[in-house]
Amino acid sequence: MCVGVPARIIELYEYSALVDVMGAQTTVGIIFVPEVCIGDYVIVHAGQAMSVIDEEYAKESAEEWRKFSYARNNAAIDQS
């Protein structure tokens, strides 16, 4: 159970891909994510891409978190 790292696919080969993590590059296996495309973000664990990150869900999650800070700011404004 190790923390995976989000990495962007920059080159695709048959069973592996070149990925980029904020500029650091390495090669990972892609047998678990056969549907992956260049430009996708994947989660990497032990040298293998295990999942393709769904950008829509990622954006929804971020929006959900932002609601907390809107609520807190609004509450602060109400109180002032």
Binding site: M1, C2, V3, G4, P6, R8, M22, V28, G29, I31, F32, V33, P34, Y41, I43, H45, A46, G47, Q48, M50, S51, I53, D54, E55, Y57, A58, K59, E60, S61, A62, E64, W65, R66, F68, S69, A71, R72, N73
Partner: protein
């Protein structure tokens, strides 16, 4: 996408979510007369909760219990000793994940064996073991297969490569563990009162959200799948509190960008093609049936346990209480050895030396002053 990912460490967002957790936890305390208790199953969650400061920030609001999610920590000492014993065979090259190197054996650690000249290699990617075996045909390459369901499919892939290449000098020592059997054990043993689980973020990639339904259905227990960044963790804790306050038992996938309902089909197929559910010995617990995976009989030729004589040593008795730590029965600082005889430079048990270990997390991230 990067901008989206950065939100997970945005201090304003995180502080706002922290406040929301405090409020909900306060309500729980009013309703129930005690703090809510959640177990983080995964070792990486233990580390993340400690390193981000979330555990400390919530120490008066939520009680976190560390669970059995560190693969090296939950492996029984006899298995650890057997794996280290493999290094004695001069013909072998032992390949392993970094975590196994400093785990205390009843005699030596792998790091000590390496220092005395044995060929032991730390690999980030297990696949490298195949090329090592191909380049060293006069040697026997053994990969120490430790991990939960995130790692098991990768070990299965190793077997697939070994089969395709018809390798004769490669094997795996399987010491893997499964999440469901240990959660069932913990709930049935009822040694710790729990209000819910923070479910492992990456094991869930393989297993899928739907694989946890037994928790609410059979045990009335909630679980939220979360990621590892501060906002992700706080979001998951918020959702657990929502369920607790509504007295509802459910599974919530709070990591939908990465975890799907059914999990990763390729990984699951690979696992079940080469492995079957085997009985495994767990530290501090003993044998749990069908709680790990081992090679199917038709792949025996890659099974290090049948290929090599297991050197059993008398397990050294110590006052180490890792077995209780991994079941959430005691917090690391309650072990009499913690930060005294047992510390990262001189670990007595695996929990202090593993990168996923609870004692290690506590020592590095949660001590105020010792």
């Amino acid at each position: 996408m990067l901008e989206t990912m950065r939100q997970s460490t945005n201090p304003d967002i995180c502080k706002a979510m922290l406040e929301a957790v405090h409020k909900k936890a306060e309500q729980f305390q009013i309703n129930n007369g005690r703090l809510p208790v959640y177990m983080e199953v995964c070792g990486s969650h233990t580390m993340a909760l400690a390193r981000t400061g979330i555990k400390q920030a919530l120490k008066d609001s939520v009680q976190f219990v560390s669970g059995p999610g560190c693969p090296v920590c939950v492996t029984a000492q006899e298995s650890i000793d057997s794996m280290i014993g493999l290094a004695k065979d001069e013909r072998t090259i032992i390949c392993t994940f970094g975590d196994m190197m400093r785990v205390p054996g009843s005699t030596k650690t792998l790091l000590e064996e390496k220092a005395s000249g044995k060929d032991i290699r730390v690999l980030y990617s297990p696949i490298e073991a195949i090329s090592i075996a191909e380049s060293n045909l006069d040697k026997e390459v053994i990969f120490l297969g430790i991990g939960f369901e995130t790692t098991i499919p990768i070990l299965a892939f190793l077997v697939q490569m070994a089969v395709e290449k018809q390798m004769t000098n490669f094997s795996i020592w399987m010491a893997t563990k499964l999440v469901e059997p240990i959660l069932r054990y913990l709930l049935e043993a009822a040694e710790v009162q729990l209000d819910g689980f923070i479910l492992p973020g990456h094991v869930s990639i393989v297993l899928g959200e739907s694989s946890y339904q037994y928790l609410p259905q059979e045990y009335g227990m909630s679980g939220v799948i979360t990621g590892f960044e501060p906002a992700e963790l706080l979001s998951g804790i918020n959702k657990l509190l929502d369920l607790s306050l509504k007295k509802e038992a459910a599974i919530i996938n709070d990591h939908p960008s990465i975890v799907t309902k059914q999990g990763n089909a390729v990984a699951q197929e690979l696992m079940h093609r080469y492995f079957y559910n085997s009985n495994e010995a767990w530290r501090g617990i003993g044998n749990i049936p069908s709680s790990g995976m081992d090679l199917k009989p038709e792949y025996e030729r890659f099974n290090a346990k049948t290929k090599y004589q297991v050197h059993t040593v008398t397990v050294k008795k110590t006052k180490c209480r890792c077995g209780e730590v991994i079941r959430g029965m005691i917090s690391p600082e309650k072990c009499p050895l913690f930060a005294k005889a047992c510390h990262p430079l001189h670990p007595i048990g695996p929990c202090m030396v593993s990168t996923e270990g609870s004692c290690s997390a506590y020592y590095h991230y949660m001590r105020e002053s010792y």
